[in-house]
Protein backbone atom coordinates (compact mmCIF):
# COMPACT_ATOMS: atom_id res chain seq x y z
CA UNK A 1 0.00 0.00 0.00
CA UNK A 2 1.37 3.45 -0.83
CA UNK A 3 -0.35 6.06 1.23
CA UNK A 4 0.79 9.45 2.35
CA UNK A 5 2.64 9.24 5.68
CA UNK A 6 0.74 10.63 8.66
CA UNK A 7 -2.18 11.40 6.41
CA UNK A 8 -3.25 7.87 5.85
CA UNK A 9 -6.82 8.04 4.75
CA UNK A 10 -7.62 11.71 4.51
CA UNK A 11 -6.16 11.68 1.02
CA UNK A 12 -9.12 9.53 0.00
CA UNK A 13 -12.44 11.28 -0.56
CA UNK A 14 -14.75 10.16 2.26
CA UNK A 15 -11.93 7.80 3.27
CA UNK A 16 -13.00 7.68 6.90
CA UNK A 17 -16.66 7.15 5.95
CA UNK A 18 -15.79 4.26 3.68
CA UNK A 19 -13.76 2.55 6.36
CA UNK A 20 -16.41 3.19 8.99
CA UNK A 21 -18.99 1.43 6.83
CA UNK A 22 -16.93 -1.76 6.71
CA UNK A 23 -18.17 -4.81 8.52
CA UNK A 24 -14.59 -5.68 9.46
CA UNK A 25 -12.72 -3.96 12.20
CA UNK A 26 -9.77 -1.98 10.93
CA UNK A 27 -7.03 -0.04 12.60
CA UNK A 28 -3.76 1.45 11.55
CA UNK A 29 -0.58 2.12 13.47
CA UNK A 30 2.25 4.52 12.75
CA UNK A 31 5.87 3.44 12.66
CA UNK A 32 6.03 3.60 16.44
CA UNK A 33 3.15 1.13 16.61
CA UNK A 34 0.80 3.71 18.03
CA UNK A 35 -2.77 3.46 16.82
CA UNK A 36 -3.75 6.34 14.56
CA UNK A 37 -7.00 5.06 13.07
CA UNK A 38 -9.74 2.87 14.51
CA UNK A 39 -12.95 2.28 12.60
CA UNK A 40 -16.46 1.78 13.93
CA UNK A 41 -16.44 -1.98 13.51
CA UNK A 42 -13.24 -2.14 15.57
CA UNK A 43 -15.00 -0.16 18.29
CA UNK A 44 -17.92 -2.58 18.22
CA UNK A 45 -15.78 -5.71 18.35
CA UNK A 46 -13.46 -4.50 21.09
CA UNK A 47 -15.81 -2.31 23.10
CA UNK A 48 -13.13 0.37 23.01
CA UNK A 49 -13.89 3.83 21.70
CA UNK A 50 -11.70 5.60 19.23
CA UNK A 51 -10.75 8.19 21.82
CA UNK A 52 -9.54 5.50 24.18
CA UNK A 53 -7.10 3.98 21.71
CA UNK A 54 -5.82 6.70 19.38
CA UNK A 55 -2.22 7.53 20.28
CA UNK A 56 -1.78 4.39 22.39
CA UNK A 57 0.61 1.53 21.67
CA UNK A 58 -1.31 -1.31 20.07
CA UNK A 59 0.31 -3.85 22.43
CA UNK A 60 -1.16 -1.99 25.40
CA UNK A 61 -4.61 -1.85 23.82
CA UNK A 62 -5.04 -5.43 22.62
CA UNK A 63 -2.77 -7.24 25.11
CA UNK A 64 -2.53 -10.30 22.90
CA UNK A 65 0.19 -12.92 23.32
CA UNK A 66 0.75 -12.40 19.62
CA UNK A 67 1.93 -8.86 20.26
CA UNK A 68 5.17 -10.06 21.76
CA UNK A 69 5.82 -13.31 19.97
CA UNK A 70 4.10 -13.12 16.62
CA UNK A 71 3.05 -9.57 15.87
CA UNK A 72 1.46 -9.82 12.41
CA UNK A 73 2.75 -6.41 11.33
CA UNK A 74 6.28 -7.35 12.38
CA UNK A 75 5.92 -10.58 10.41
CA UNK A 76 4.97 -8.63 7.31
CA UNK A 77 7.99 -6.36 7.85
CA UNK A 78 10.26 -9.36 8.17
CA UNK A 79 8.91 -11.46 5.33
CA UNK A 80 7.81 -8.72 2.94
CA UNK A 81 4.52 -10.57 2.45
CA UNK A 82 1.10 -9.54 3.59
CA UNK A 83 -0.73 -11.82 5.98
CA UNK A 84 -4.21 -13.14 5.29
CA UNK A 85 -6.66 -14.99 7.52
CA UNK A 86 -4.41 -15.34 10.54
CA UNK A 87 -6.27 -16.43 13.65
CA UNK A 88 -5.40 -14.66 16.86
CA UNK A 89 -6.91 -13.36 20.10
CA UNK A 90 -7.23 -9.87 21.49
CA UNK A 91 -8.46 -8.49 24.75
CA UNK A 92 -11.61 -6.41 24.77
CA UNK A 93 -12.55 -3.61 27.08
CA UNK A 94 -14.30 -5.95 29.51
CA UNK A 95 -11.17 -8.09 29.74
CA UNK A 96 -12.61 -10.95 27.72
CA UNK A 97 -10.42 -12.47 25.04
CA UNK A 98 -12.00 -12.58 21.59
CA UNK A 99 -10.97 -14.88 18.76
CA UNK A 100 -10.34 -12.95 15.60
CA UNK A 101 -9.19 -13.59 12.08
CA UNK A 102 -7.00 -10.86 10.67
CA UNK A 103 -5.20 -9.57 7.61
CA UNK A 104 -2.11 -7.42 7.95
CA UNK A 105 -0.17 -5.19 5.60
CA UNK A 106 2.40 -2.43 5.73
CA UNK A 107 1.79 1.19 4.83
CA UNK A 108 4.58 2.93 2.98
CA UNK A 109 5.49 6.56 2.51
CA UNK A 110 6.40 8.32 -0.71
CA UNK A 111 9.96 6.97 -0.37
CA UNK A 112 8.56 3.46 -0.27
CA UNK A 113 9.70 3.02 3.34
CA UNK A 114 7.47 1.41 5.96
CA UNK A 115 5.62 4.16 7.78
CA UNK A 116 2.87 2.21 9.45
CA UNK A 117 0.75 -0.88 9.41
CA UNK A 118 -2.86 -1.78 8.87
CA UNK A 119 -4.80 -4.67 10.32
CA UNK A 120 -8.33 -5.65 9.40
CA UNK A 121 -10.02 -8.21 11.59
CA UNK A 122 -13.30 -9.81 12.41
CA UNK A 123 -14.68 -11.49 15.46
CA UNK A 124 -14.78 -15.15 14.55
CA UNK A 125 -16.21 -16.37 17.84
CA UNK A 126 -19.62 -15.37 16.58
CA UNK A 127 -18.67 -16.46 13.10
CA UNK A 128 -17.68 -19.89 14.44
CA UNK A 129 -21.02 -20.24 16.17
CA UNK A 130 -22.84 -19.18 13.01
CA UNK A 131 -20.83 -21.65 10.90
CA UNK A 132 -21.59 -24.43 13.35
CA UNK A 133 -25.28 -23.61 13.18
CA UNK A 134 -25.11 -23.73 9.37
CA UNK A 135 -23.47 -27.17 9.20
CA UNK A 136 -26.74 -29.12 9.12
CA UNK A 137 -27.64 -27.08 6.02
CA UNK A 138 -24.45 -27.99 4.16
CA UNK A 139 -23.99 -30.93 1.83
CA UNK A 140 -20.98 -32.55 3.39
CA UNK A 141 -19.63 -31.59 6.80
CA UNK A 142 -19.51 -27.87 6.13
CA UNK A 143 -18.93 -28.07 2.37
CA UNK A 144 -21.65 -26.72 0.12
CA UNK A 145 -22.14 -27.99 -3.40
CA UNK A 146 -24.25 -30.62 -5.09
CA UNK A 147 -22.58 -30.64 -8.52
CA UNK A 148 -21.28 -33.90 -9.91
CA UNK A 149 -17.63 -33.05 -9.26
CA UNK A 150 -18.34 -32.16 -5.65
CA UNK A 151 -20.35 -35.36 -5.17
CA UNK A 152 -17.35 -37.31 -6.42
CA UNK A 153 -15.13 -35.56 -3.91
CA UNK A 154 -17.52 -36.36 -1.05
CA UNK A 155 -17.57 -40.01 -2.13
CA UNK A 156 -13.79 -40.14 -2.21
CA UNK A 157 -13.56 -38.64 1.28
CA UNK A 158 -16.03 -41.19 2.60
CA UNK A 159 -14.16 -44.03 0.91
CA UNK A 160 -10.87 -43.07 2.57
CA UNK A 161 -12.31 -42.10 5.93
CA UNK A 162 -10.79 -45.16 7.63
CA UNK A 163 -7.29 -44.47 6.26
CA UNK A 164 -4.50 -42.30 7.67
CA UNK A 165 -2.78 -41.77 4.34
CA UNK A 166 -1.63 -38.27 3.39
CA UNK A 167 -4.00 -36.19 1.29
CA UNK A 168 -2.94 -33.63 -1.29
CA UNK A 169 -5.58 -31.08 -2.18
CA UNK A 170 -5.12 -28.91 -5.22
CA UNK A 171 -7.31 -26.08 -6.39
CA UNK A 172 -7.31 -22.40 -7.25
CA UNK A 173 -7.40 -19.85 -4.49
CA UNK A 174 -10.77 -19.56 -2.81
CA UNK A 175 -12.13 -22.92 -3.96
CA UNK A 176 -12.59 -24.28 -0.45
CA UNK A 177 -9.51 -26.45 0.05
CA UNK A 178 -9.52 -25.80 3.77
CA UNK A 179 -13.20 -26.74 3.96
CA UNK A 180 -12.37 -30.01 2.21
CA UNK A 181 -9.51 -30.58 4.64
CA UNK A 182 -11.88 -29.98 7.54
CA UNK A 183 -14.35 -32.49 6.10
CA UNK A 184 -11.58 -35.07 5.71
CA UNK A 185 -10.48 -34.60 9.30
CA UNK A 186 -13.94 -34.79 10.75
CA UNK A 187 -14.80 -38.00 8.91
CA UNK A 188 -11.48 -39.65 9.77
CA UNK A 189 -10.54 -41.94 12.65
CA UNK A 190 -8.63 -39.01 14.14
CA UNK A 191 -11.64 -36.74 14.40
CA UNK A 192 -11.40 -36.63 18.19
CA UNK A 193 -7.67 -35.94 18.20
CA UNK A 194 -5.83 -32.66 17.72
CA UNK A 195 -6.30 -30.87 14.43
CA UNK A 196 -3.66 -28.24 13.73
CA UNK A 197 -3.51 -25.90 10.76
CA UNK A 198 -0.42 -24.15 9.45
CA UNK A 199 -0.28 -21.70 6.57
CA UNK A 200 3.20 -22.07 5.13
CA UNK A 201 3.22 -18.60 3.61
CA UNK A 202 2.90 -16.74 6.89
CA UNK A 203 6.26 -17.63 8.31
CA UNK A 204 9.73 -16.75 7.03
CA UNK A 205 11.76 -19.88 6.37
CA UNK A 206 13.54 -20.26 9.69
CA UNK A 207 10.44 -19.41 11.66
CA UNK A 208 8.48 -22.06 9.77
CA UNK A 209 11.02 -24.68 10.81
CA UNK A 210 10.67 -23.54 14.42
CA UNK A 211 6.89 -23.43 14.11
CA UNK A 212 6.65 -26.99 12.78
CA UNK A 213 9.44 -28.72 14.68
CA UNK A 214 9.87 -26.51 17.72
CA UNK A 215 13.14 -25.27 19.14
CA UNK A 216 15.21 -25.31 22.29
CA UNK A 217 16.41 -22.30 24.17
CA UNK A 218 19.38 -20.67 22.48
CA UNK A 219 18.79 -22.36 19.12
CA UNK A 220 18.76 -18.88 17.57
CA UNK A 221 18.75 -15.28 18.73
CA UNK A 222 15.07 -15.02 19.61
CA UNK A 223 14.86 -18.50 21.13
CA UNK A 224 14.63 -17.50 24.77
CA UNK A 225 12.90 -20.70 25.90
CA UNK A 226 12.09 -24.20 24.67
CA UNK A 227 9.09 -24.35 22.38
CA UNK A 228 7.04 -27.29 21.17
CA UNK A 229 6.37 -27.44 17.44
CA UNK A 230 3.11 -28.12 15.64
CA UNK A 231 4.08 -31.69 14.78
CA UNK A 232 4.57 -32.59 18.42
CA UNK A 233 1.46 -30.73 19.40
CA UNK A 234 -0.58 -32.61 16.75
CA UNK A 235 0.83 -36.05 17.69
CA UNK A 236 -1.78 -38.77 17.07
CA UNK A 237 -3.87 -36.15 15.28
CA UNK A 238 -3.94 -34.30 11.99
CA UNK A 239 -1.84 -31.49 10.59
CA UNK A 240 -3.13 -29.36 7.71
CA UNK A 241 -0.33 -27.66 5.76
CA UNK A 242 -1.85 -24.96 3.59
CA UNK A 243 0.09 -23.42 0.67
CA UNK A 244 2.65 -26.18 0.96
CA UNK A 245 4.25 -25.36 -2.38
CA UNK A 246 5.50 -22.08 -0.85
CA UNK A 247 7.71 -24.04 1.52
CA UNK A 248 11.44 -23.58 0.97
CA UNK A 249 13.31 -26.54 -0.40
CA UNK A 250 15.33 -27.21 2.73
CA UNK A 251 12.08 -27.28 4.73
CA UNK A 252 10.68 -29.77 2.23
CA UNK A 253 13.59 -32.09 3.04
CA UNK A 254 12.71 -31.97 6.74
CA UNK A 255 9.06 -32.58 5.94
CA UNK A 256 9.93 -35.52 3.72
CA UNK A 257 11.88 -37.11 6.54
CA UNK A 258 9.04 -36.83 8.98
CA UNK A 259 6.67 -38.34 6.41
CA UNK A 260 9.03 -41.21 5.71
CA UNK A 261 10.26 -41.97 9.21
CA UNK A 262 7.99 -40.06 11.56
CA UNK A 263 11.07 -38.58 13.23
CA UNK A 264 12.52 -35.11 13.62
CA UNK A 265 14.62 -32.93 15.93
CA UNK A 266 13.69 -29.63 17.46
CA UNK A 267 15.88 -26.81 16.18
CA UNK A 268 19.07 -26.62 18.19
CA UNK A 269 18.65 -30.08 19.66
CA UNK A 270 20.17 -33.45 18.76
CA UNK A 271 17.49 -35.56 20.43
CA UNK A 272 15.42 -37.37 17.79
CA UNK A 273 11.72 -37.45 18.49
CA UNK A 274 8.93 -39.51 16.95
CA UNK A 275 5.39 -38.48 16.12
CA UNK A 276 2.38 -40.03 14.47
CA UNK A 277 0.64 -37.29 12.51
CA UNK A 278 -1.68 -37.50 9.52
CA UNK A 279 -0.83 -34.87 6.94
CA UNK A 280 -3.30 -33.05 4.75
CA UNK A 281 -1.54 -30.67 2.35
CA UNK A 282 -2.98 -28.06 0.03
CA UNK A 283 -1.77 -25.74 -2.67
CA UNK A 284 -3.15 -23.39 -5.29
CA UNK A 285 -0.01 -23.71 -7.38
CA UNK A 286 0.34 -25.87 -10.45
CA UNK A 287 2.40 -28.49 -8.66
CA UNK A 288 3.65 -30.20 -11.82
CA UNK A 289 5.07 -26.89 -12.98
CA UNK A 290 6.58 -26.24 -9.57
CA UNK A 291 8.33 -29.61 -9.74
CA UNK A 292 9.55 -28.96 -13.28
CA UNK A 293 10.95 -25.60 -12.15
CA UNK A 294 12.69 -27.18 -9.21
CA UNK A 295 10.59 -25.33 -6.62
CA UNK A 296 8.96 -28.44 -5.21
CA UNK A 297 10.55 -31.82 -4.60
CA UNK A 298 9.13 -34.62 -6.66
CA UNK A 299 9.77 -37.22 -3.95
CA UNK A 300 7.84 -35.10 -1.45
CA UNK A 301 4.99 -34.72 -3.92
CA UNK A 302 4.69 -38.49 -4.32
CA UNK A 303 4.78 -38.92 -0.55
CA UNK A 304 1.94 -36.48 -0.10
CA UNK A 305 -0.11 -37.37 -3.16
CA UNK A 306 -1.36 -40.71 -1.87
CA UNK A 307 -4.93 -39.39 -1.91
CA UNK A 308 -5.13 -36.59 -4.47
CA UNK A 309 -8.13 -34.29 -4.51
CA UNK A 310 -8.65 -31.60 -7.12
CA UNK A 311 -11.20 -29.00 -6.14
CA UNK A 312 -12.81 -27.49 -9.22
CA UNK A 313 -12.94 -23.72 -9.76
CA UNK A 314 -16.38 -22.23 -9.26
CA UNK A 315 -16.78 -21.40 -12.94
CA UNK A 316 -16.68 -25.13 -13.66
CA UNK A 317 -19.57 -25.84 -11.30
CA UNK A 318 -21.90 -22.94 -11.89
CA UNK A 319 -24.85 -25.08 -10.90
CA UNK A 320 -23.60 -24.67 -7.33
CA UNK A 321 -23.71 -20.87 -7.45
CA UNK A 322 -27.40 -20.51 -6.50
CA UNK A 323 -26.98 -22.97 -3.62
CA UNK A 324 -23.87 -21.22 -2.41
CA UNK A 325 -25.53 -17.83 -2.71
CA UNK A 326 -28.45 -19.02 -0.59
CA UNK A 327 -26.06 -20.51 1.93
CA UNK A 328 -24.21 -17.22 2.27
CA UNK A 329 -27.44 -15.25 2.52
CA UNK A 330 -28.44 -17.49 5.42
CA UNK A 331 -25.01 -17.13 7.01
CA UNK A 332 -25.03 -13.36 6.87
CA UNK A 333 -28.60 -13.13 8.03
CA UNK A 334 -27.50 -14.93 11.21
CA UNK A 335 -24.28 -12.99 11.53
CA UNK A 336 -25.78 -9.56 10.99
CA UNK A 337 -29.16 -10.48 12.46
CA UNK A 338 -30.98 -9.13 9.45
CA UNK A 339 -33.35 -10.84 7.05
CA UNK A 340 -33.59 -10.19 3.36
CA UNK A 341 -36.32 -11.67 1.21
CA UNK A 342 -34.44 -13.09 -1.73
CA UNK A 343 -32.02 -12.36 -4.54
CA UNK A 344 -33.70 -10.88 -7.62
CA UNK A 345 -33.69 -12.89 -10.80
CA UNK A 346 -31.52 -10.37 -12.58
CA UNK A 347 -29.01 -10.39 -9.76
CA UNK A 348 -29.00 -14.19 -9.77
CA UNK A 349 -28.34 -14.21 -13.50
CA UNK A 350 -25.41 -11.87 -13.07
CA UNK A 351 -24.03 -13.99 -10.26
CA UNK A 352 -24.25 -17.12 -12.34
CA UNK A 353 -22.47 -15.61 -15.31
CA UNK A 354 -19.61 -13.92 -13.49
CA UNK A 355 -16.31 -15.88 -13.91
CA UNK A 356 -15.13 -15.70 -10.24
CA UNK A 357 -11.36 -15.58 -10.49
CA UNK A 358 -11.46 -15.66 -6.67
CA UNK A 359 -13.88 -18.60 -6.65
CA UNK A 360 -16.12 -19.33 -3.69
CA UNK A 361 -14.39 -16.83 -1.45
CA UNK A 362 -15.07 -14.12 -3.98
CA UNK A 363 -18.71 -15.14 -4.23
CA UNK A 364 -18.98 -14.96 -0.46
CA UNK A 365 -17.44 -11.48 -0.43
CA UNK A 366 -19.81 -10.33 -3.17
CA UNK A 367 -22.84 -11.69 -1.31
CA UNK A 368 -21.67 -10.12 1.94
CA UNK A 369 -21.15 -6.76 0.27
CA UNK A 370 -24.59 -6.87 -1.33
CA UNK A 371 -26.18 -8.16 1.88
CA UNK A 372 -24.82 -5.28 3.94
CA UNK A 373 -26.13 -2.79 1.40
CA UNK A 374 -29.59 -4.33 1.13
CA UNK A 375 -32.21 -3.01 3.52
CA UNK A 376 -33.92 -5.37 5.94
CA UNK A 377 -36.76 -7.38 4.39
CA UNK A 378 -35.90 -6.15 0.88
CA UNK A 379 -34.85 -7.97 -2.23
CA UNK A 380 -31.17 -8.12 -3.08
CA UNK A 381 -31.10 -6.31 -6.42
CA UNK A 382 -28.51 -5.87 -9.12
CA UNK A 383 -27.69 -2.38 -7.88
CA UNK A 384 -26.53 -3.79 -4.56
CA UNK A 385 -23.90 -5.96 -6.21
CA UNK A 386 -20.36 -4.62 -6.64
CA UNK A 387 -20.13 -2.64 -9.86
CA UNK A 388 -17.46 -4.86 -11.36
CA UNK A 389 -20.05 -7.61 -11.67
CA UNK A 390 -22.14 -5.74 -14.21
CA UNK A 391 -19.98 -2.91 -15.52
CA UNK A 392 -18.19 -4.88 -18.19
CA UNK A 393 -20.65 -7.21 -19.82
CA UNK A 394 -19.24 -9.82 -22.14
CA UNK A 395 -20.70 -10.66 -25.52
CA UNK A 396 -21.97 -14.19 -25.68
CA UNK A 397 -20.45 -16.60 -28.17
CA UNK A 398 -23.87 -16.87 -29.73
CA UNK A 399 -23.77 -13.48 -31.42
CA UNK A 400 -20.21 -12.38 -30.87
CA UNK A 401 -19.71 -12.34 -34.59
CA UNK A 402 -22.47 -9.86 -35.43
CA UNK A 403 -23.55 -6.42 -34.37
CA UNK A 404 -27.25 -5.87 -33.74
CA UNK A 405 -28.92 -2.66 -34.85
CA UNK A 406 -30.98 -1.43 -31.93
CA UNK A 407 -33.63 -0.27 -34.36
CA UNK A 408 -33.95 -3.69 -35.86
CA UNK A 409 -36.47 -6.41 -35.38
CA UNK A 410 -33.64 -8.67 -34.31
CA UNK A 411 -33.20 -6.52 -31.22
CA UNK A 412 -36.79 -7.08 -30.20
CA UNK A 413 -36.47 -10.78 -30.97
CA UNK A 414 -33.46 -10.94 -28.70
CA UNK A 415 -35.38 -9.29 -25.90
CA UNK A 416 -38.18 -11.77 -26.33
CA UNK A 417 -35.73 -14.63 -26.35
CA UNK A 418 -34.40 -13.58 -22.96
CA UNK A 419 -37.84 -12.79 -21.55
CA UNK A 420 -37.14 -9.06 -21.67
CA UNK A 421 -34.26 -9.47 -19.22
CA UNK A 422 -32.45 -6.25 -20.11
CA UNK A 423 -29.36 -7.13 -18.07
CA UNK A 424 -28.86 -10.35 -19.90
CA UNK A 425 -29.47 -8.82 -23.31
CA UNK A 426 -27.05 -6.00 -22.47
CA UNK A 427 -24.41 -8.54 -21.61
CA UNK A 428 -25.03 -10.52 -24.74
CA UNK A 429 -24.79 -7.38 -26.88
CA UNK A 430 -21.82 -6.01 -24.98
CA UNK A 431 -23.53 -2.72 -24.20
CA UNK A 432 -24.72 -0.96 -21.09
CA UNK A 433 -28.10 -1.86 -19.67
CA UNK A 434 -29.19 1.75 -19.55
CA UNK A 435 -28.63 1.98 -23.32
CA UNK A 436 -31.30 -0.66 -23.77
CA UNK A 437 -33.62 1.08 -21.37
CA UNK A 438 -33.18 4.38 -23.20
CA UNK A 439 -33.73 2.74 -26.59
CA UNK A 440 -36.92 1.06 -25.46
CA UNK A 441 -38.13 4.35 -24.05
CA UNK A 442 -37.31 6.07 -27.32
CA UNK A 443 -39.23 3.38 -29.18
CA UNK A 444 -42.15 3.91 -26.86
CA UNK A 445 -41.98 0.34 -25.61
CA UNK A 446 -42.99 -0.31 -22.05
CA UNK A 447 -40.64 -3.10 -20.97
CA UNK A 448 -42.06 -3.69 -17.50
Amino acid sequence: MNLIENNTFSCLPHGGDILDSMGEGLFTVNKDFKINFFNKAAEQITGLSRDEVIGKYCKNVFRSDFCFNECPIARVLESGQNIYDLESRIQCKDGKMVNIRLNAAILKNSNNEPSGGVISFRDISRLKKVNESLKPNTHFFGVVGSSKTMQEIYKLIEDVAHADAPVFIQGETGTGKEMIANAIQITSRRKDKKYVKVNCTIFPSQMLASELFGHVRGAFTDAIKDRIGRFEYADQGTLFLDEIAEMHLHMQVLLLRILQEGSFERLGESLTRKVNVRIIAATNMDIKNAIAEGKFREDLFYRLNVIPIKVPPLRERIEDIPILSSHFILKFSRLYKKEIKMISREASDLLINYPYPGNVRELENIIEYAFIRTKENSVLEVDMLPSFIYEQPQKSKEIAHMEIDLNSVKFIELLEKYNWNKTKVARVLGINRTTIWRKLKALGIDSR
Binding site: Y57, F68, C71, A74, G80, P114, S115, T221
Partner: protein, 160 residues
Protein backbone atom coordinates in the same frame (compact mmCIF):
# COMPACT_ATOMS: atom_id res chain seq x y z
CA UNK B 1 15.82 -11.15 4.48
CA UNK B 2 14.50 -8.76 7.13
CA UNK B 3 13.74 -5.25 6.06
CA UNK B 4 16.17 -3.03 7.94
CA UNK B 5 13.49 -0.49 8.61
CA UNK B 6 13.11 1.82 11.55
CA UNK B 7 9.65 0.41 12.04
CA UNK B 8 10.93 -3.13 12.52
CA UNK B 9 13.52 -1.83 14.96
CA UNK B 10 10.74 -0.08 16.85
CA UNK B 11 8.86 -3.36 17.07
CA UNK B 12 11.84 -5.19 18.52
CA UNK B 13 12.39 -2.39 21.01
CA UNK B 14 8.71 -2.45 21.94
CA UNK B 15 8.84 -6.18 22.70
CA UNK B 16 12.14 -5.64 24.56
CA UNK B 17 14.28 -7.56 22.11
CA UNK B 18 17.12 -5.10 22.57
CA UNK B 19 19.74 -7.04 20.66
CA UNK B 20 17.68 -7.21 17.48
CA UNK B 21 16.58 -3.60 17.88
CA UNK B 22 20.16 -2.47 18.36
CA UNK B 23 21.31 -4.01 15.08
CA UNK B 24 18.54 -2.36 13.13
CA UNK B 25 18.93 1.04 14.79
CA UNK B 26 22.66 1.00 14.04
CA UNK B 27 21.88 0.28 10.42
CA UNK B 28 19.23 2.98 10.10
CA UNK B 29 21.36 5.56 11.89
CA UNK B 30 24.25 4.95 9.52
CA UNK B 31 22.18 6.67 6.84
CA UNK B 32 20.17 8.96 9.13
CA UNK B 33 22.49 9.89 12.01
CA UNK B 34 20.33 12.77 13.22
CA UNK B 35 17.35 10.58 14.15
CA UNK B 36 16.90 11.51 17.81
CA UNK B 37 14.20 9.00 18.86
CA UNK B 38 16.31 6.17 17.52
CA UNK B 39 19.46 7.42 19.21
CA UNK B 40 17.61 7.60 22.52
CA UNK B 41 16.49 4.00 22.11
CA UNK B 42 19.94 2.91 21.00
CA UNK B 43 21.45 4.21 24.25
CA UNK B 44 19.06 1.97 26.15
CA UNK B 45 19.83 -1.01 23.92
CA UNK B 46 23.57 -0.58 24.42
CA UNK B 47 23.09 -0.34 28.19
CA UNK B 48 21.18 -3.63 28.20
CA UNK B 49 23.64 -5.42 25.91
CA UNK B 50 26.52 -4.05 28.00
CA UNK B 51 28.12 -2.03 25.21
CA UNK B 52 28.70 0.83 27.61
CA UNK B 53 31.36 2.67 25.62
CA UNK B 54 29.05 2.88 22.62
CA UNK B 55 26.14 3.82 24.88
CA UNK B 56 28.09 6.68 26.40
CA UNK B 57 29.19 7.93 23.01
CA UNK B 58 25.61 8.15 21.73
CA UNK B 59 24.42 9.48 25.10
CA UNK B 60 26.97 12.27 25.07
CA UNK B 61 26.11 13.16 21.49
CA UNK B 62 22.51 13.65 22.61
CA UNK B 63 23.24 15.69 25.72
CA UNK B 64 25.72 17.82 23.80
CA UNK B 65 22.80 18.90 21.60
CA UNK B 66 20.54 19.41 24.61
CA UNK B 67 20.28 17.35 27.81
CA UNK B 68 16.53 17.97 27.78
CA UNK B 69 16.30 15.56 24.85
CA UNK B 70 16.71 12.80 27.40
CA UNK B 71 15.55 14.57 30.57
CA UNK B 72 12.15 15.36 29.08
CA UNK B 73 11.42 11.77 28.08
CA UNK B 74 7.76 10.92 28.57
CA UNK B 75 8.04 7.32 29.76
CA UNK B 76 4.49 6.42 28.79
CA UNK B 77 4.19 7.99 25.38
CA UNK B 78 7.73 6.95 24.46
CA UNK B 79 7.31 3.46 25.92
CA UNK B 80 10.47 3.95 27.95
CA UNK B 81 11.57 0.78 29.77
CA UNK B 82 14.10 2.55 31.95
CA UNK B 83 12.31 2.20 35.27
CA UNK B 84 12.27 -1.56 35.00
CA UNK B 85 15.84 -1.71 33.75
CA UNK B 86 17.06 0.52 36.53
CA UNK B 87 15.39 -1.69 39.10
CA UNK B 88 17.17 -4.75 37.70
CA UNK B 89 20.53 -3.03 37.39
CA UNK B 90 20.50 -1.56 40.88
CA UNK B 91 19.79 -5.00 42.23
CA UNK B 92 22.79 -6.37 40.35
CA UNK B 93 25.08 -3.46 41.20
CA UNK B 94 26.24 -4.89 44.50
CA UNK B 95 27.17 -8.18 42.83
CA UNK B 96 28.52 -6.78 39.61
CA UNK B 97 32.24 -7.14 39.21
CA UNK B 98 32.31 -4.48 36.55
CA UNK B 99 31.04 -1.67 38.76
CA UNK B 100 32.10 1.10 36.42
CA UNK B 101 29.95 -0.22 33.57
CA UNK B 102 27.00 -0.69 35.88
CA UNK B 103 27.35 2.83 37.30
CA UNK B 104 27.58 4.36 33.85
CA UNK B 105 24.55 2.39 32.62
CA UNK B 106 22.55 3.50 35.63
CA UNK B 107 23.68 7.07 35.16
CA UNK B 108 22.49 7.04 31.56
CA UNK B 109 19.20 5.27 32.26
CA UNK B 110 18.37 7.50 35.21
CA UNK B 111 18.60 10.59 33.05
CA UNK B 112 15.43 9.38 31.28
CA UNK B 113 13.67 9.53 34.66
CA UNK B 114 15.47 11.78 37.14
CA UNK B 115 18.42 14.04 36.48
CA UNK B 116 19.58 14.20 40.10
CA UNK B 117 19.80 10.43 40.45
CA UNK B 118 21.59 10.31 37.12
CA UNK B 119 24.31 12.68 38.11
CA UNK B 120 24.83 10.85 41.42
CA UNK B 121 25.73 7.71 39.49
CA UNK B 122 28.02 9.62 37.16
CA UNK B 123 29.80 11.11 40.16
CA UNK B 124 30.38 7.60 41.48
CA UNK B 125 31.65 6.51 38.08
CA UNK B 126 33.96 9.50 37.95
CA UNK B 127 35.47 8.50 41.29
CA UNK B 128 36.35 5.10 39.84
CA UNK B 129 37.77 6.55 36.63
CA UNK B 130 38.73 10.17 37.20
CA UNK B 131 40.79 10.48 34.01
CA UNK B 132 38.06 9.30 31.66
CA UNK B 133 37.33 12.33 29.50
CA UNK B 134 33.95 11.06 28.37
CA UNK B 135 32.72 10.71 31.95
CA UNK B 136 34.18 14.10 32.80
CA UNK B 137 32.31 15.62 29.88
CA UNK B 138 29.05 13.99 30.94
CA UNK B 139 29.36 15.17 34.52
CA UNK B 140 30.16 18.70 33.49
CA UNK B 141 27.27 18.84 31.05
CA UNK B 142 24.76 17.55 33.57
CA UNK B 143 26.09 19.71 36.38
CA UNK B 144 25.74 22.70 34.13
CA UNK B 145 22.19 21.72 33.33
CA UNK B 146 21.27 21.35 36.98
CA UNK B 147 22.86 24.70 37.80
CA UNK B 148 20.92 26.46 35.08
CA UNK B 149 17.74 24.81 36.21
CA UNK B 150 18.33 25.73 39.85
CA UNK B 151 19.04 29.29 38.79
CA UNK B 152 15.89 29.45 36.74
CA UNK B 153 13.89 28.02 39.61
CA UNK B 154 15.27 30.50 42.06
CA UNK B 155 14.59 33.38 39.66
CA UNK B 156 11.06 32.16 39.25
CA UNK B 157 10.68 31.96 43.02
CA UNK B 158 12.00 35.49 43.49
CA UNK B 159 9.73 36.92 40.81
CA UNK B 160 6.73 35.37 42.56
Amino acid sequence: MKSMSEMLGNHYFMVRNYLQAQGIFEDVLSSDPSNIPLRKKLVICYCVTNEITKALSVFNSLISEDPDIIINTDSESEDCPCQGLIFELEGKLLLDQDKLSALLALGMLWLYCNVNSSIEYFYEAQKLSPSDENITYTVSKLRNKISIRDLENSNTYRSQ
